[in-house]
Symmetry: C2
Subunit: 110 residues, 2 copies
């Protein structure tokens, strides 16, 4: 079907899955890593940096923006993107509830 039955899961489970999907493509990982590395807003050169066509990059940026992980501000003919620090921290917190769950030790039976 291709359509996840999100209605049978909790809001938290769906939220974690949605954030995870954002990281589920290497281009988006590369974009985020580059934004962190530059440590500033970056105007324009993501297409050359990543190596995908301009519409493809634009689409990936749109997804990251819709999730709130990055924000873009218009600067003349170009758009500057950077990490949305507040939302990034919120995302880290959400993901942390899954990733940092304590590892079973005592009753591990495998």
């Amino acid at each position: 079907m291709g359509l996840a039955k999100s209605e049978i899961f909790t809001a938290e489970q769906n939220e974690i899955a949605n954030f995870a999907k954002a990281f589920g493509h290497p281009a988006r990982v590369a974009i985020l890593q580059h934004l962190f590395k530059i440590n500033a807003c970056i105007c324009g050169d993501l297409v050359q940096e990543i190596g995908l066509a301009q519409p493809t990059i634009s689409q990936h940026l749109k997804e990251l923006k819709q999730l709130g992980l990055i924000k873009g501000t218009i600067d003349g003919t170009s758009v500057c993107y950077c990490i949305d620090t507040d939302n990034w921290e919120k995302m880290k917190s959400k993901m942390g509830t899954l990733l940092h769950l304590n590892i079973p030790s005592k009753t591990d039976c495998c």
Copy 2:
């Protein structure tokens, strides 16, 4: 196209994306949360717990197993699943390289 151009990205970027894809579906999030909550190997009741058909759960379990995040041991007619603690820690470390990147502060221009 639906096919990611993984060859133009680093091994790390692809690895992070692959782990993230595992968390990119609420059913798999729910499965992992349940395994952590039970804090032991669990035989059989994942279908009732999650609320999807048995073949669907089996498929999600297969994906998690292929990534090494869980392991299953055969116990008679049933299979017991639990978190693969070693690989879980490795995954956390990989994901951490992206999630815990320092937030830009000084040169933030947006």
